[in-house]
Amino acid sequence: MTTKNLAHYIYGIADNALILGQRLSELCGHGPTLETDIALTNMALDLLGQTRSYYQYIANLSTENLTEDDVAFLRKEREYRNVLLVEQPNTDFAYIIVRQYFFDVFHFMQLQLLQQSKDVNLTAIAHKSIKEVGYHKQFSGDWVKRLGDGTAESHEKVQQAVTDLWAFTEELFYLSGQDKLVIETGHGINPEQFKEKYYQTISQLLKESTLEVPEAKYFQKGGKDGIHSEHMGYILAEMQFMQRAYPDMKW
């Protein structure tokens, strides 16, 4: 396993947190209630904090004197390895919650397993992050239930979000050739191990929420290979603007 492959693998984990954190931070000041606004913004901060740990590690691995800011803000669209799910827009509160729930359950199981990695830096980050992610999962799962089992309107909206976002779930488990090399050495972990459990868990919660579990067999993918949806360019434009307009700026 080369350092380059390891960095590639870590991007596959860290970029999800970065882009979802960015998406959630767009909601700051726009949440449906003050309390929910604070909760979503807290989650954005948690995710960005986790991202920093991974990027600092990648920067340390690099031989080109990279900083965490270079890694976060100065890559091109094709170099980001986040899944398509996390870049989907904040269409309405139902979408925000379902996107979050589908990701949180995966993220939690991913970090559980990552604690067994041979890479001590990754196990340390996973260990530190999992408490936060456990709370995210509770929060989003609770809201899926409330909306699903709420009013006729909330039920309809959350069902729509579930049906639309379901197509993005399988990509969470996608592995590139380089990912597989890192997994073979025991530094990476194979999400295939918990795929069945993942679908059982979310299907169970959807049923409890009186929602239908989609039966779609066609899934979207591409993000982990750098092929993103039309939304990604806008996210990066906003996120990278400051660093590109004022290179090396500091707060």
Partner: protein, 94 residues
Amino acid sequence: MKKDWPLWEVFVRSKKGLEHRHFGSLHAPDAEMAIKNARDVYTRRKEGVSIWVVESKNIKASNPDDNAEMFDPADDKAYRHPTFYDLPDDVEHM
């Protein structure tokens, strides 16, 4: 259906052994969510080890019009206050 969430009062115990203290209030649809919201609004920076919430409407408050009767006793009854005792140095909080 009511559109606005009810108001809840939040009490946080900052350490084991200390009492719960009033931290503030927030809106939530029910008690469970009130505790979650309290976690996000008040206890994300290790402010506490336990949260109580109670719906604000369940709190009966004293009437400010009764302040004279409630809180303003005569000043000339010094014997009501045990201020004439010498406390030993070892007694720290009395």
